[in-house]
């Protein structure tokens, strides 16, 4: 994972957005937060209705409230920078261009939950960001934004460390991430217990996505009510989307929650899209007929990955690619995920060769349902999603392939 890229932090382009990409000055949130009580910060967060941006959408105020309430000598706040979902790169943009938002958010989090240490679990592939980010943290220490008695706040000591991952997709799952941080094999833990009371080194730990922390910085400065003005009732604020695939302007976009898929496609210049994979490999594949659905926790939830496929793409090939990814990236711990994904991939290969029966494909869909229910963590629980949604939404294309009349019966 060597990378000789010389990277400098800072803004590359003039990004525009209502919330995350709005004006912000380094240290602003910390200064404001330290003048507030912890309870007031939690109330602001509650007002903002901010939900976790990793994809699961757990209310951040609840997570912090529970971690703050847990009784322990030591607590931790972990920034999940293991951006591993295929098709997402918005966290990298935040780290490179808006590190102040992320780190200030962590300091605010540390103050709110009572943690002394924040850990950034940085994706192994982002090793080239390590040095510049560490330099940035050093700057913060110089300015007393980190360290002892931060900005003169007596008794508030907080520091941030960066730890590199080793490139396993599953380590984006918060408990596998913690296992990896502890030096073990990256395997998800049994839940309960949740990290909020038994996390890193057995201590209360809040694991937050980069984008969540960036949003916190804005909320603290501008208020929860301001944040909640954007988006929909159940999905407040805005969202960063990593747009890739068949479009004219791929990249990172900030759009308010509630944007229609068709609107997003227009903005990015995607003509003749026939499908959009939302939420990465483990997300859902939306066919053209459903492009009027909205991007929101209540309709199509996402961690931000948007992959666009045009008319020329073979959806079975797309599905095969996703399933190969899961076969490789399953941690191998639990049966449904370890073996189930192999069986689903075999099913895709059978369709590819035209050697299948519908009875078998239906059996695999049922297996997929079991995987969703019985797998140990979110990886196995969501890995059958593309299998089920692509075979359902593109059945005409997939089952009427030109393969010498050897279609299944």
């Amino acid at each position: 994972m060597q990378n000789h890229l010389e990277v400098k932090l800072g803004k590359k382009t003039d990004r525009k957005g209502p919330v995350i990409f709005s004006e912000y000055k380094r240290g602003e949130a910390i200064k404001k937060a330290l003048s507030m009580s912890r309870e007031d910060i939690l109330f602001e967060l509650k007002d903002s209705k901010l939900k976790g941006r990793g994809g699961a959408g757990f209310p951040t105020s609840t997570k912090w409230m529970l971690t703050a309430a847990a009784k322990a000598e030591k607590k931790f706040i972990i920034c999940n920078a293991d951006e591993g979902e295929p098709g997402t790169f918005k966290d990298r943009v935040l780290l490179m261009e808006y590190p102040e938002l992320v780190f200030d958010g962590m300091v605010v989090g540390g103050y709110t939950i009572g943690a002394q240490l924040g850990i950034v679990y940085l994706r192994g592939e982002y090793e080239y960001l390590l040095k510049p980010l560490e330099d940035y943290l050093e700057e913060m220490r110089k300015d007393n934004l980190l360290g002892k008695n931060i900005l003169g706040k007596e008794g508030f000591d907080f520091d941030i460390e960066i730890v590199l991952g080793s490139g396993a997709y599953v380590c984006g799952e918060e408990t596998a991430l913690i296992e990896s941080l502890e030096g073990h094999r990256g395997e998800p833990r049994n839940r309960p217990p949740y990290p909020i009371n038994t996390g890193f080194l057995g201590r209360p730990t809040s694991v937050n996505n980069i984008e969540t922390l960036a949003a916190v910085s804005h909320i603290v400065v501008k208020g929860g009510k301001w944040f909640a003005k954007f988006g929909t009732d159940k999905s407040s604020g805005s969202k960063l989307f990593s747009v890739s695939g068949d479009c004219e302007k791929p990249g990172v976009y900030e759009l308010p929650w509630g944007t229609k898929i068709s609107e997003l496609l227009e903005i990015v210049g995607a003509k003749n899209a026939k499908a959009v994979q939302i939420g990465g490999a483990s997300g859902h594949c939306i066919p053209k007929s459903q492009f009027d659905r909205t991007l929101a926790y209540e309709d199509v939830p996402t961690g931000g990955s948007v992959m666009i496929f045009n008319e020329n793409r073979d959806m079975l090939h797309v599905l095969k690619n996703f399933m190969e990814f899961f076969v490789d990236e399953s941690c191998g711990q639990c049966t449904p995920c370890r073996i189930g994904n192999v069986k689903l991939l075999e099913g895709v290969e059978m369709i590819e060769k035209g050697q299948y029966t519908f009875a078998h494909i239906n059996k695999l869909k049922e297996l997929g349902r079991t995987m969703q229910l019985a797998s140990k963590c979110g990886l196995g629980q969501s890995s059958p999603n593309p299998f089920i949604s692509i075979l359902e939404n593109f059945k005409d294309e997939i089952f009427n392939r030109g393969n010498g009349g050897r279609n299944g019966r």
Binding site: H184, R185, V342
Partner: protein, 637 residues
């Protein structure tokens, strides 16, 4: 990370231990849950699986094992918890709220069946060519869920090579279901840490350091992983074919020694409940199979006590009277798993190990010398087999230094499971055999040798002799029925102090070594007992740190939980209840014997009169009955 301490087992393989309330009857101490619409009150923190057991609701399990920490990986035990989106593994879910559980819904049944189908699709081999046929948890699950065909296909080619590099443990990873019981046994129960999952996704497999052969890593051969493997992926290195060949060869004189623990457990292989010894029946069965002589390992256990006890006395004498520097505390050396553990993990302490061989190896050396001479048989034609509860004994008899008779002292170590198989092959139903005695010249042994099989047994046997040697009093006058209860039990580490208030005359056997006992008067003998290498590690770390165990004089170590009766060659399954019953069987047999102290075994005293003429720890005994050890360390080439 400032306070990052290394934990042996990852938390992903540990249960959420919710401390159970001391008084569940107090307010908040217990919770009422609903299982299949039936109400049940359980202590706070009980797992769903435990609660279902209390409610007599059967939940299938595979990766769960009572001796081990929770993994929650096989997912066979999933149940529905109202309000939760996904199914929950009942083995790993602690009850902390009044939840409603359903164990037989359509989703649950379907999920379990799917999981079993998936496991079988990857399980290479056929049941009839597997030693675990009829005692396999995967097979039972398949039967329980009515698997009648391969729903998701079946592997037709092996993916892994069988690793039979080790004298003790054979690994056939094509039969592995990745329940990780062996991993948890090795890393958490035994704290050795040889096995771990390697690779990920579909390539995940259980392997050793850099996938090296088991013989080349720091495996201590305890075989605890075999006892806990649900399938046939792990087994002991089986010498049955060679033994049958020797029996069938008329030029070979095949003798077998039987250890007490297999005798207390072999009935389990014949459908008998745990807790009954079949010593007499086994003697008859072995003769009918074709063994020429059947000897009792307890005889050399008695001999071990004399040799090891004398060694202890000599070490103490050197330390206290001659003021020489000697290694103390003295560690027992009967458990070959423990010996190899120490050689790997604490090589700097090998001088503390008693140089006395284990009973198995002492017997081996005597059979091909003393017995061969007496019976007029060429030792080259003797095939010496040892029935042991242990897989490490197979390694021990193959140690290069174990040939003091001029031949390989013990030719084959045979486990309880393997012998049971031989008995079945011979068409014998063991429990119905008439009883018979052991063969001379070693005859019956004492109860002291017998209790070697249970943790604390070696210590108790040694104390029965040492107390009588030193004080001249009968041990029955000190401990009722000569049951030295402070060293008994299943607690992981036991510690006791025995003050020596009066001393007697030095017995004849030891007169050439110490002039009198006055130097011991007023002293306090400090002893400890521990079983399982995880406990051994605690004791060793304490010794290293100069804690209370460093002041001990004598410590008994057994590699396996429960001692030999819980050994890696014993019948499967194992759990604490079964081990306790085996211990009962052993202590009951001890109670029934006329001679219960090693030094009162007349055959042992005869042996010193006739053969080991320069006494315990003399030249002859040093040549035949003592050994040396290797500083192995943890370096893996």
């Amino acid at each position: 990370m400032e306070d990052k301490k290394s934990l042996r087992a990852p938390v992903s393989q540990k249960p959420h231990v919710v401390p159970k309330p001391e008084h569940p009857e107090y307010l908040g101490g217990s919770i009422t849950v609903e299982i299949n619409e039936k109400k049940l009150t359980v202590p706070f923190g009980t797992t769903i699986l435990e609660a279902c057991k209390q409610a007599q609701i059967h939940i299938p399990t595979l990766c769960h094992h009572e001796d081990l920490c929770v993994a929650g990986v096989c997912r066979v035990c999933v149940v529905e918890v109202e309000g939760m989106r996904t199914l929950q593994a009942s083995c790993a879910f602690p009850i902390t709220a009044p939840i409603k559980i359903k164990t037989t819904t359509n989703a649950v049944r379907k999920a379990r069946k799917h999981i079993i189908d998936l496991l079988i699709s990857e399980h290479y081999g056929e049941c009839y060519s597997c030693f675990r046929n009829n005692n396999c948890e995967l097979q039972s699950l398949a039967k329980e869920y009515g698997v009648d065909h391969y729903n998701f296909g079946h592997v037709t080619q092996p993916r892994y090579e069988v690793d039979n590099s080790s004298y003790s443990v054979v690994r056939d990873m094509d039969k592995c279901v990745l329940c990780k019981r062996c991993v948890r046994t090795c890393i958490d129960l035994q704290e050795v840490g040889v096995l771990e999952a390697i690779d990920r996704g579909h390539n995940t497999h259980i392997g050793t350091f850099f996938d090296k052969p088991l013989a080349e890593v720091i495996c201590i051969n305890c075989g605890q992983c075999i006892n806990r493997c649900p399938t046939g992926a792990l087994r002991a290195n089986d010498p049955r074919d060679e033994i049958w060949a020797a029996i069938d060869d008329p030029t070979k004189h095949v003798v077998i020694q039987t250890a007490p623990s297999p005798r207390a457990a072999i009935g389990e292989e014949f459908g008998q409940g745990a807790g009954k010894s079949f010593t007499g029946e086994l003697n008859t069965a072995l003769r009918r199979i074709g063994f020429d002589k059947v000897f009792d390992t307890n005889f050399t256990a008695d001999l071990t006590i004399i040799e090891e006890g004398t060694e202890l006395i000599l070490r103490l004498y050197k330390a206290l009277v001659k003021k020489e520097i000697v290694a103390l505390p003295q560690f027992t050396s009967c458990s070959p798993g423990w010996v190899k553990y120490l050689e790997h993990f604490y090589p700097e302490y090998i001088d503390n190990l008693s140089s006395a061989k284990s009973p198995q190896q002492m017997f081996g050396a005597l059979i091909k010398t003393f017995y061969a001479q007496k019976a007029g048989i060429d030792p080259a034609n003797i095939v010496s087999v040892a029935l042991m509860p242990c897989s490490a004994k197979k390694f021990e008899c193959n140690r290069p230094e174990m040939n003091s008779s001029g031949y390989k002292d013990v030719d084959y170590g045979l486990t309880t499971r393997e012998l049971a198989q031989m008995i079945k092959e011979a068409g014998i139903f063991l429990p119905e055999m008439p009883q018979s005695h052991f063969d001379d010249p070693f005859g019956e042994a004492s109860g002291a040798g017998l209790i070697f099989g249970a943790t604390g047994g070696v210590m108790e046997a040694a104390l029965r002799s040492v107390i009588e040697f030193v004080t001249g009093k009968r041990v029955e006058d000190v401990y009722a029925n000569a049951d030295i209860t402070p060293v008994r039990g299943f607690e992981g580490i036991r510690y006791a102090e025995i003050p020596i208030t009066e001393v007697g005359p030095v017995p004849k056997l030891l007169q050439h070594l110490v002039p009198d006992w006055n130097w011991l008067k007023g002293a306090t003998l400090k002893i400890a007992v521990c079983h399982g290498t995880a406990n051994a590690k605690k004791v060793m770390e304490d010794i290293k740190a100069g804690g209370k165990f460093s002041e001990c004089h004598f410590i008994e170590f057994m590699a396996c939980p429960g001692g030999c009766l819980g050994g890696g060659g014993q019948p499967i399954p194992t759990n604490e209840e079964i081990r306790k019953k085996r211990a009962e069987a052993i202590y009951n047999e001890d109670k029934s014997l006329p001679v219960r102290k090693s030094h009162e075994n007349r055959h042992v005293t005869e042996l010193y009169d006739m053969f080991l003429t320069d006494g315990p720890c003399g030249h002859i005994s040093h040549k035949l009955l003592h050994t040396h050890y290797v500083k192995r360390g943890k370096f893996i080439a």
